[in-house]
Symmetry: C3
Subunit: 347 residues, 3 copies
């Protein structure tokens, strides 16, 4: 929405959304080797399939694919100016399905469909549910996810239509299985972990051990890498008058950091197939140190595939508290993420 | 100039410059996808023509060109060791003409010609006027600009020649018009702005709304990206004994940030044709939050071109003060830039 | 080593190393233009041969090679999870030999051989000596170096074998000479320095003049660029309970910064042939400003080569103290590096 007088986007308010509306997002983005280098340098993400061209080819890929969470953040970022520029809170994710591997040189765009609207009882805000799709330059869908955000009303007195809340699946039921078949050359000396799909058990908990402190410049660079323009991440002057008094780290950067930490313990889980659900349970600020631990919620064999299996995981990220006791509640929990990864099976 | 005893550059002092001298600058630089990724991540610049290969090709380009201000900063940076390493102040820009689009893989070099010298009445400093040219690897000029800087004298008693002050044009009179013709595929859903050249009016003011806080690491990374070696941006130890007491953000980074902010309101103004004049009116430091607003100084149709038109703009960047009141003076104004952009016309 | 219960690497303790053991390091890494752009932006390194494709080709190379210290840091980083994750101190380097130029697109891996083990008299720690090799994707060795680190024992009571301390050469005796012959197109106007090999004399000291302050985000990005996961560089929460109370800057970043500073005075010394020895004599923290100076230890003509000569150098990096007095001892000395560079000779 442009402001009344002029040319600039002020972002949408709650009454600007209509149910079933399709919103194409501007500014498609060609992903290059520069973006992947930045992603590794800003997050520490270093799964073998996404960092070694040689390994990727030997494992059965044509080329080294992009990190899935990098792609997620790129598509998310594209949706921000139209969906969440004025968001009070990013409430959750569901039904996130990674449909296709993406490669350097591809140009990604995004569009969102409004699938739910519910005014809050205070009359000042409402929850908007959108399904966002990422598209490659041929228009093929590469990624699909639902998120919901709390958006203020421009005018508290504006009358709103009846609430429509989508039925959200508890998890992605039909996993998208990559067409690439992993071959016998999956070398665990290369990936840094000897543990195949069979080695993980339901209920198992993994402390990812390492901690990483977020620097102010880093989280802003990561957020700009994704073309995410949300003011809460960039404008410290404005933030002075908010309840936090400072910029908030973009939640997607927290997901990336947690995923990067999880490499220590999940080194062969190079492919993210789905994000079943997720919540940013507390804000992260520059200076906070993040730790993470993971519980295996379920191990899942895949039909017709003997090369890979799936693990449904719950990863918890904590701030300023090591993960050794596996805490899953409390003020220090900043992320609670339920997602599904694919791992090679033993031959 | 090397120091008397040794091998190192100490930078030129005022008496080291001669009128009409041509100074070739060292260290040409091949621009890669890594540099453009960093530019986006450090500045937030995201005009469609420079971030989407698909869009650039559909719009009539062979390839995605580099951002003009990135190129400006690269050429400026090359000139620093010979021109402004010892500068007390970067006083202004004029007659900056972008002559050719630049693409990834090109190797850029620079040279400057001394076009004016004027000793200050205090005998301690002088103003040096140079015209700097950027060249591609075939030696073709891609960019040309004049800047003037205040440089200390090595020896206050040194006798200097008579003052020679160049006549500087108020603006670039003959705009360089790109050979590429934009075609009907210029898609405003892609660029993020529905506003064509015809939609802007002389006198119109645009508040670009967003604010971005500068982090210490970010501005140094940007400055190094351009190979700009000026001590005032890097050496906090030295800065303790200066009047500011801290590092100063490179002015070109402020231009980049202002240009990036202007995307919100000028989304189709993807091409910078000229910088007519500019001043860094106050220093910017890490921790400052920058805002920007733009006035349309003039709309200008172009001979023989129905695809594009020009807008002469004045963009003001402010620190720690939102731009909503369109302030153009005061201690918070850090940049006053007069430049000309090209926009597609309606079909 | 995985911890007893689980899947994660906790890093090796002193008793986990065996003499003559060969340790392959995980996670080979494809080096791209994104990595080189980041390297320049994070360190300021800008030698002509590594930043201009045009210059590199004219000088006799097929392509622009990677900066040698970037390659060193990449290989070092790969060795960290297996060698020095739990290191108390990184004690020194020796016999570092750069065997082959590396180019963008190559995938680098690393392996280390334990060549010495010596328990300390306190029974709580020991010194581990390793020779680490960097390999390209064809398995050819590109780089070889020895380093030794102090590692805590897991169990102070564990009995250890007799001490074995390797004989370390004072310097790399047989320099590896690149197969490329520099030709007459080595243009000193391009490299930024008029000084050829013949212009340097044994005993000559060069103050590199410039200072650069390290920002928190920068050193972490550089360290992640190399996939170095050592906790002391990333975890400020953990660091609070250490003697330093804060994160320590990765020593390889200090080497990169010193090397970058040395460009002012050694502009033609584009190729590092060997690191004869080196010590990080004091820790560097974010906020410190680094300066550097260099002494020419020896000038060395090369058999059968009239295009290049070698200089053995000692570069000292200092924190928060300019290098003008050439100090080589004291609390502010952070790096004492003995290495050999190759320079073009006069024709």
């Amino acid at each position: 929405m442009s402001d009344a007088r002029g040319k600039t986007q002020e972002g949408r308010f709650f009454e600007d959304f209509s149910l079933h509306e399709v919103i194409p997002h501007a500014l498609p983005r060609t992903i290059t080797a520069g973006d992947t280098a930045l992603y590794q340098s800003l997050t520490g993400c270093r799964f073998a399939l996404q960092t070694s061209e040689t390994f990727a080819r030997r494992a059965g890929y044509d080329r080294m694919p992009l990190d899935d969470i990098l792609v997620f953040n790129m598509i998310f970022g594209k949706s921000v100016p139209d969906i969440s520029l004025n968001a009070v809170a990013n409430l959750g994710y569901a039904e996130c399905d990674f449909l296709r591997q993406v490669y350097e040189g591809e140009t990604l765009s995004a569009r969102s469909t409004v699938i739910g609207l519910k005014e809050n009882s205070n009359g000042k805000t409402g929850t908007v549910y959108v399904q966002t799709e990422g598209l490659d330059h041929r228009g093929k869908t590469i990624l699909r996810f639902i998120r919901w955000v709390m958006i203020p009303k421009r005018d508290a007195k504006a009358k709103m239509p009846d609430a429509a809340v989508p039925d959200l699946a508890d998890h992605v039921e039909r996993l998208t299985i990559p067409r690439h078949r992993l071959n016998r050359f999956w070398d665990t000396a290369v990936t840094g972990s000897p543990h195949f799909w069979e080695d993980y058990e339901t209920g198992e908990k993994i402390d990812h051990r390492d901690g990483v402190t977020i620097a102010e410049g880093e989280h802003m660079m990561a957020t700009r890498l994704y073309h995410n323009t949300s003011r809460v991440h960039f404008d410290a002057h404005l933030a002075e008058s908010t309840k936090f008094g400072q910029r908030v780290v973009y939640g997607g950067h927290v997901i990336s950091i947690a995923r990067a930490l999880s490499q220590n313990g999940l080194g062969n889980a190079c492919i993210v197939s789905a994000i079943n659900g997720g919540k940013h349970t507390a804000p992260t600020f520059a200076g906070d140190t993040l730790y993470a631990w993971t519980e295996v919620l379920k191990t899942q064999a895949l039909q017709n595939r003997t090369d890979i299996g799936a693990l449904r995981l719950r990863t918890i990220a904590l701030k300023n508290q090591p993960a050794s006791g596996f805490p899953d509640a409390g003020d220090n929990v900043v992320l609670d993420l339920d997602y599904t990864v694919l791992l090679p099976r033993r031959r």
